[in-house]
Amino acid sequence: MPELATAVSEIRLRFGEQAVLRASRLAAIEPWPSGLEPVDRLSGIDGLPRGRLTVLSGHGTCGKLSVGLDLLARGSRELSQVVLVDPSLTFDPWTLAALGGDLERVLAIRPPAPDACGEAALALARAGCGLLVVLLPARVLAAAEAWLPSLEGAAGRSGSVVVAIAEDVPPALAHSSSFTLGLERVEWLVAAGEPVGLRARLRCLKNRVGVPGRETELEVRYPLNCTFAGKGAISEPLLRTFAGKREEGSEEWQARSAAG
């Protein structure tokens, strides 16, 4: 059908080669095993999807940034370049060092304006940085409708793993993501009268690459008693996750449910 071929070639001319692809040319989704077991298991593909957008969301203090930094630290040990896009200028390198991250491979982007945040995220996702973590505070999220839909496409071209961290999930972000996890704080962990961490419920709100709806719990311990890099080993793992312990259907889960 020459008309169809002409139409396809025109679309490719205007929108690029990737605009029209045969289904047989679509690659299967590859996982990046982050090593953070609850997250890997909830995705259904044993890792975060490469070339897709993953969203960590949750209101207030629920551990989403800790999980994001832990992913960043794990990524920095495996990948040549990991990038944090930090428009709110809140990145603390020592936290990442305490989590065992290789700071030589970590790059922080501090965009001066919300538009620049989108431009930076798109450029880096397109360039193929191994792991891109984008912090999306409300003021950036409000102006992100223009570039969020392109973010997953940009990541898809290079196979980057892109993780967005946001308090709310507005429609643009919800539509753009392939894997959305909602975190909810269950309780504070307190030792000697001081909060040392929290226990959070992790729920898969959306999953295009696996089965959605699963949930689990994880425990986040804040790096309080750490020594810093260059002065010896870190005394103990600072971010502990306990996967499987409280998964839905487990004995402990049933016991908790029965107890109300």
């Binding site: 690029g16 080669e17 040549s80 390198p93 030589e104 965009p111 290079s158």
Partner: protein
């Protein structure tokens, strides 16, 4: 001679420019000049390149006459040469539609020949005749005797050349007549004579002719060197005011350039974007208006792909406020260099795209300042205040 040589014949490139006339008698040339190229259908009327056009008209009155377009033919030659450039170490494209490739060292010559056929067909629109022989002279003659889209392989050049006419040699008419009078009518006849004897009869060209006739192939290929600059442009009719449409066009142009860069293994160190503006239109923003606006920048990391180019060009266009609607968009790469890559650290994930990431970061820094990308460095490592133990330096 290195050899073996593969030759692809597509017909004169001036003829390739006019697919509407294929299959009919037509010739290319100025009305008051000589015939530059003639279609095969005119040969039976005695028309050949070099004769005056008015004489050709008398010989073949039904032939259509088309003005020559040397720039378009040169563009087509460049396009075909670029398409063949990565197939063989030495490629020689000629304006008469002869493309010669030295297959010395090619791991899979048959694959190269197949690709040559495909790419020439794509570039010129015509199925090439292909010849494979120990040298360029015999390869060209072999190709001329092959059917369109087929290959004629010559193992023994001297044996293949022996029965062919001396008219195949690039000799002037007077020398050919002299050889004919001497009874030397085939290349085999010339081969039996020594170069010195032939030189004594028709001068210096005779020496070369004798060696060619013997299959010695004394003339090598002239390697085509890709130009150190490249550019693409698109005329916009009607003039564009819509930024999104302009970005779509820019993306397509960048994809074209990226394909060419990939084929040539080159990277762009300098990028220039030109917008030609509608001179008839009053200035949009109360400015002076003008025929052309341009922006140019050098990049630290060579840009090698379409998305990389569009990353830079698109960011310019998004912030550009042209004074009038745009009638033409041009993207030029005035400085190219080999896009050689370092050896990858194969045990580190994603190391292959490190250069692209670095280039993207540098472009962000060019746009927003060095402080936009920072890397944590140890600072006061003994400080009791955790936040002082590291500082963020520009990457």
């Amino acid at each position: 001679m290195a050899g073996p040589i593969c030759c692809g014949l597509t017909g004169h490139l001036e003829l390739c420019l006019h697919p509407d006339f294929w299959g009919r008698p037509f010739l290319v040339g100025d009305w008051d000049g000589d015939v530059v190229a003639a279609s095969p259908e005119t040969a039976e009327f005695g028309v050949y390149p070099g004769i005056p056009v008015h004489h050709a008209r008398k010989l073949c009155p039904q032939a259509s006459i088309v003005d020559p377009d040397p720039p378009a033919a040169a563009r087509l030659r460049k396009l075909a040469a670029i398409a063949l450039y990565d197939l063989a170490p030495v490629v020689e494209p000629r304006a008469d539609g002869t493309f010669l490739l030295d297959l010395e060292g090619a791991a899979q010559p048959s694959l190269v020949i197949r690709e040559t056929r495909r790419r020439l067909r794509e570039a010129t629109g015509r199925d090439p005749q292909l010849g494979l022989a120990p040298g360029p002279f015999s390869a060209r003659l072999a190709a001329a005797r092959a059917r369109a889209g087929r290959l004629l392989r010559v193992e023994n050049a001297a044996q293949f050349l022996a029965p062919l006419s001396i008219a195949e040699l690039d000799l002037d008419r007077e020398a050919l007549e002299r050889l004919d009078l001497l009874g030397l009518r085939t290349l085999g006849d010339l081969a039996r004579l020594g170069p010195r004897q032939l030189q004594s009869q028709i001068g210096r060209p005779g020496r070369l002719a004798a060696r060619l006739a013997r299959g010695e192939e004394p003339v090598g290929l002239e390697p085509w060197r890709p130009p150190a600059i490249t550019a693409v442009h698109r005329q916009l009719e009607p003039p564009l005011e819509d930024r999104e449409a302009l970005l779509f066009v820019a993306r397509a142009l960048c994809d074209d350039l990226g394909r060419e860069l990939g084929l040539r293994g080159a990277g762009a160190r300098r990028v220039r974007v030109k917008l030609r503006l509608d001179a008839q239109h009053p200035p949009l923003r109360g400015g002076q208006g003008g025929a052309e606006e341009a922006r140019e920048s050098a990049v630290r990391q060579p840009l090698t792909t379409g998305p990389e180019l569009f990353g830079l060009v698109g960011s310019w266009l998004r912030a550009w406020a042209p004074a009038a609607p745009i009638t033409e968009l041009a993207v030029e790469l005035p400085q190219l260099e080999p896009a050689g890559r370092r050896q990858l650290r194969l045990w580190v994930g994603g190391d292959g795209s490190l250069e692209e990431v670095t280039a993207a970061v540098e472009r962000l820094q060019e746009r927003f300042g060095d402080e936009v990308a920072v890397r944590p460095r140890p600072f006061l490592v003994d400080s009791p205040v955790a936040a002082q133990r590291y500082r963020l330096d520009p990457a």
